[in-house]
């Protein structure tokens, strides 16, 4: 049985359905973003850990030039090591049917008759490799889909200088390649990069690796000291050309996953906080108005003997009902969003399946947080109304007190027309309300700015990375360092405009007790095809001696320009030297070290050697060049700039657009909530004034100006402030997202500011018009006949 008071509650709610709805939507947005980010985070972490555990993702990885199989036993004896799996891993050029450009295949050996002890593969379709067949491979799904290759189709591979047709018999996934990115690339390019698993014996025969391996994966016993194991592994592998062992956290795919999860963790709570603050504020404003309108009713209830607590609970129920509705809507919306976002992530991540689990406790937490914010927001208003003694509440509220505004106090009052004066005084009389409205509007503007900033930043990345830094059409890497003469040969290919050498040396950089395993890149000092440009647009010149470090790498190693770094090279004669860091480069991606190629060769105590090349060519000749490269032995991988750009546009850009849309919708929700409620409350407070003005002879248009002037002024002031706030938030975001893998350049396009201002303005105008329609039904006589 519904009590009379509850019946009043539902009637009040239905009377204020517009406003209640606007607030509920803001709460829903807050809860949705919270549920989304928590669910997404949880499902990404759970998916990752499940996949890692079930398919035995290794703890330590190491590459070596060529080590004998018997070394595995020695590795196994290292204290803390539980499992060792030796493998052969080779990069080869692929000739994929249907594309001109050569692709890169990462060939990984699989033992016959047993699953690998570590880094097992999940077979989605097809069958396992048949032992003794040397032409069968399992292939990564993304690569197959991108190139439209089906089971039973063949791919041409240049294996050790000979072309071989490989038949795809299975579609596979591996915890090592959730993020399938070619080393040195910035983004996944499934068209041109595939993982292929091949029978161990077949691979070993093809590369003359009989009785030897070039890659190991190590599993650790629980609680083993990773760093010590790495030292022992390095010591054992060093005589065989070890390239330095590294822990799981530095494994490329895992590093990228972790970087995404970290990003989500830092940014995931920002949006819910904003929404719930706005909702709390709106509830405060609406409850203040509601209790003031019902002042006499409250007095009457008290006179009848209702306690303060009963009355407070009555209004609190009003708040909680709105919150519950918003929370429910938000939970459903958040689940849907999370589902949607997971699909976005699946476009990039290669998981056999995504563990998407709805967690009831996330929904409960979201509800509790939203309820807390709502109670916090409305408590003050309700307490104030309830505390009023009944006798005083029975009397009408004293007329509102106003004073001259700041503008008038400093003597500029004469410049302001009467109507504007009403608006300004109203605003100045409620400084806290005005400030919060302003903040909320600014916030919605800032959300659009920040959302689009990411897009602008990525556009800038494309511009800087693919046009300013990498100025070549394609680059290639050789299997082994070769003589500089190879460059001449490339230069002589028909259609090649320019060709420049590049050298890559795997090394460990050490400063005191900090170290990082990276590849030093050697470039000609006057390189035309690669410029060192920072994310802020500053070019850094390559010195004759010494090296240039990524600013991020310098901070990881805790070193400044002018200081020396110990360079332990991991290839050939493995020389060690102290090198001066001449300058730092605030670059966008990765941890990089650059040197003059001649200086690098001197450091290696070698003559003019190269391990790769960059070239530009006449586009008409590109197919012929690709064909040539596909058949050139010794080429380990080819990277085509245009393909990287295209792949980017197809994946990241689409996701980005999606995110922008969602941001836009959220901004509109806030603007709508704030402006609609603001205007409705203005209308409620001003009905009497407006009716009076209508009677005096003001037109509808004129009183609309007064009604909407207040919220309009707030909106117009809020927009520039919001743009500024968006600027700062974006800047702060770049600090938060300053990761080893990727660093956002700070750039905001003018169109972003335009879009943010226009979106919020349009949402404001729309909600103001909704309220303005109410003016047409203003009952002039009824209003004037009654007391306020």
């Amino acid at each position: 049985m519904l009590s009379s008071l509850d019946r009043k509650l539902f009637r009040d709610l239905s009377h204020m359905k517009g406003q209640s709805f606007a607030i509920a939507i803001v709460i829903a947005a807050g809860v949705a973003t919270f549920v989304n980010s928590r669910t997404l985070l949880h499902s990404l972490e759970l998916t990752r850990s499940t996949f890692y555990e079930r398919y035995r993702f290794a703890d330590v990885f190491a590459r070596v030039k060529r080590a004998p199989d018997m070394l595995v036993d020695r590795l196994q004896e290292i204290p803390g090591v539980s499992t060792v799996e030796s493998r052969i891993v080779k990069s080869v050029t692929l000739d994929v049917p249907g594309i001109d450009e050569p692709a890169v295949g990462q060939l990984i050996s699989l033992p016959a008759f047993r699953p690998p002890r570590l880094n097992q593969v999940y077979l989605r379709r097809g069958r396992q490799l048949e032992p003794s067949r040397d032409d069968e491979v399992l292939a990564s799904e993304a690569f197959l889909i991108a190139n439209n290759i089906d089971l039973g189709d063949t791919i041409g591979a240049i294996i050790n200088g000979r072309r071989k047709e490989l038949r795809v018999v299975g579609v596979a996934f591996s915890p090592e390649y959730v993020f399938q990115i070619k080393p040195g690339d910035m983004l996944p390019d499934p068209h041109h990069f595939g993982i292929l698993w091949m029978d161990h014996e077949a691979l070993s025969n093809a590369f003359d690796m009989d009785g030897a391996f070039n890659d190991i994966a190590v599993g650790l016993a629980r609680g083993s000291p990773v760093e010590e194991v790495i030292l022992s592994v390095d010591r054992l592998l060093e005589p065989y050309g070890g390239l330095g062992a590294f822990p799981r956290k530095d494994q490329l795919s895992n590093l990228l996953l972790e970087s995404d999860i970290q990003g989500l963790r830092t940014t995931g709570l920002i949006a819910p906080t904003i929404f719930l603050c706005v909702a709390a504020f709106l509830l405060n404003v609406v409850l203040t108005r509601l209790t003031s309108l019902q002042r006499e009713q409250i007095a009457a209830l008290k006179a009848f003997g209702y306690t303060n607590l009963q009355i407070a609970w009555h209004y609190m129920k009003f708040v909680l009902l709105i919150t519950a509705a918003g929370g429910l809507l938000g939970t459903l919306g958040g689940m849907w969003l999370a589902h949607d976002f997971t699909k976005l992530f699946l476009r990039v991540y290669q998981y056999p399946e995504l563990v998407f689990r709805v967690q009831p406790n996330v929904a409960v937490n979201a509800m509790l947080v939203a309820g807390g914010a709502a109670v916090l927001g409305s408590f003050g208003a309700i307490a104030l109304a309830v505390r009023l003694p009944p006798a005083e509440a029975m009397r009408p509220e004293p007329p509102a007190r106003y004073g001259p505004t700041l503008l008038e106090r400093i003597g500029l009052g004469r410049l302001v027309p009467n109507v504007a004066r009403m608006v300004l005084r109203q605003l100045e009389r409620h400084p806290i309300k005005t400030t919060f409205s302003l903040l909320a509007i600014s916030m919605s503007v800032a959300i659009v700015v920040v959302g689009n900033f990411i897009g602008n930043s990525v556009d800038k990345v494309i511009q800087v990375q693919f046009y300013d830094v990498e100025r070549y059409d394609l680059s290639l890497a050789t299997v082994e360092p070769v003589s500089i003469d190879a460059i001449r040969e490339l230069e002589n290919l028909p259609g090649v405009y320019q060709c420049e050498p590049r050298r890559y040396v795997a090394s460990r950089l050490r400063v005191a007790n900090r170290s990082r395993r990276i590849g030093i890149v050697g470039l000609p000092r006057d390189a035309a095809l690669m410029h060192l440009k920072s994310r802020t647009g500053k070019y850094v010149a390559l010195p004759r001696e010494g090296m240039i470090l990524s600013k991020k790498l310098a901070s990881v190693l805790n070193i400044r320009a002018g200081e020396k770094v110990r360079v332990e090279t991991l290839q050939e004669k493995r020389p060690v030297a102290d090198v001066v860091v001449v300058d730092l480069l605030d670059d966008i991606t990765g941890l990089n070290a650059y040197m003059d190629i001649e200086a690098l060769n001197r450091l290696m105590r070698e003559g003019p050697q190269v391990s790769g090349a960059m070239l530009t060519a006449n586009p008409e000749f590109l197919p012929a060049i690709y064909k040539e490269l596909k058949e050139t032995p010794g080429v380990a991988s080819v990277t085509i700039r245009q393909a990287a750009i295209d792949s980017f546009r197809n994946t990241i850009a689409k996701n980005m657009l999606h995110m922008r849309m969602i941001n836009l919708i959220f901004a509109i929700i806030i603007a709508l909530g704030v402006v609609y409620n603001g205007a409705r409350i203005s209308l409620s407070e001003r009905t009497r004034e407006l009716a009076t003005l209508r009677v005096i002879g003001f037109t509808r248009r004129e009183i609309s100006t007064i009604l909407l002037g207040e919220i309009g002024t707030v909106t117009l002031l809020g927009i520039p402030f919001g743009l500024l706030m968006g600027y700062w938030f974006s800047w702060i975001l770049t600090l938060f997202l300053d990761q080893e893998v990727f660093r956002f350049p700070f750039v905001i396009a003018n169109s972003t500011y335009g879009l943010a201002a226009a979106t919020v303005l349009a949402a404001s105008v729309g909600s103001a018009l909704l309220v303005r329609r109410k003016l047409d039904h203003l009952d002039l006589i009824a209003v004037l006949k009654s007391r306020e």
């Binding site: 106003y402 004066r421 009403m422 005084r425 003005l693 003001f698």
Partner: protein, 251 residues
């Protein structure tokens, strides 16, 4: 009987001498209140003349406010016609009525209806800003003896003072009619008298046609003509050649 004949004679004379400001014929007004029809006016014929001070007297619910609202262009009758200086008000649309109120009508209400965020002078200026031939706002305040309170906000003024500001605001546009609905209804005798003095001074000095609604019969003594209304009809019209000044009234 004799007095009623003489009244009739005076009325005839007046009619010939003075311009008709309002001419209403057969006014009815029916409100639909839920499922009940309320007949607020049941056929009212009326003329108001330029410069006259009329009191519409009647108990609450008699229909006097409805009549005033129709004359002031706030409401439209269910049937019948109203002419204002030859223009048929009942033909006007909303925009026309707004323009009519803006140019010709001054309103004073029981509950003042001042804008709380504007000072006394600014409340008056609100009207002079949009009027064609306004008075100076300070002049208007002088007519109600409030020049020294011009920079006060409504919250700083007494009820009587607020009502006088409302009167100043109503006359500042130099309206041809001043319509007052229970102007002293919320005031005590003393302040009520001050307000009535202000109204009669405006009627006298500016020649503004003035209609005051009241249920207080005492106020009728200061009118040129008293129109009694009951149950939606004019029950009685009484000419008052010996007007008493407001200061002599008491209730």
């Amino acid at each position: 009987m004799a007095s009623s004949i003489s009244n009739w004679a005076v009325e005839q004379q007046e009619t010939q001498d003075r311009e008709v400001v309002f001419a209403a014929q057969g006014l009815t007004k029916t409100y639909h209140m839920g499922e009940v029809d309320v007949h607020a006016l049941r056929g009212v014929d009326l003329e108001l003349f330029a410069g006259e001070f009329v009191v519409l007297l009647g108990p609450s619910g008699s229909g006097k406010s409805t009549l005033l609202n129709i004359l002031g262009g706030l409401d439209v009758p269910s049937s019948g016609t109203v002419f204002y200086r030859g223009q048929q008000l009942t033909e006007f649309d909303d925009a026309g009525l707004t323009r009519y109120r803006r140019e010709h009508v001054g309103f004073v209400f029981q509950f003042y209806n001042l804008i709380p965020s504007l000072t006394a002078r600014e409340n008056v200026a609100l009207v002079t800003d949009i009027a064609a031939h306004p008075l100076n706002p300070v002049e208007a305040l002088r007519m109600v003896n409030l020049v020294d309170r011009q920079d006060h906000f409504p919250a700083q003024l007494s009820g009587g003072e607020q009502q006088r500001v409302a009167i100043a605001r109503a006359v500042a546009k130099n309206p041809s009619v001043l319509l007052c609905d229970e102007p002293t209804g919320a005031l005590d005798v003393h302040t009520g008298i001050l307000v009535l003095e202000a109204i009669s001074r405006i009627n006298r000095e500016l020649g503004t046609t003035t209609a005051v609604i009241t249920h207080n019969a005492v106020i009728a003594d200061m009118a040129d003509r008293v129109i009694s209304i009951s149950d939606g009809k004019i029950s009685h019209v009484h000419l008052n050649p010996n007007k008493r000044p407001a200061s002599e009234l008491t209730w």
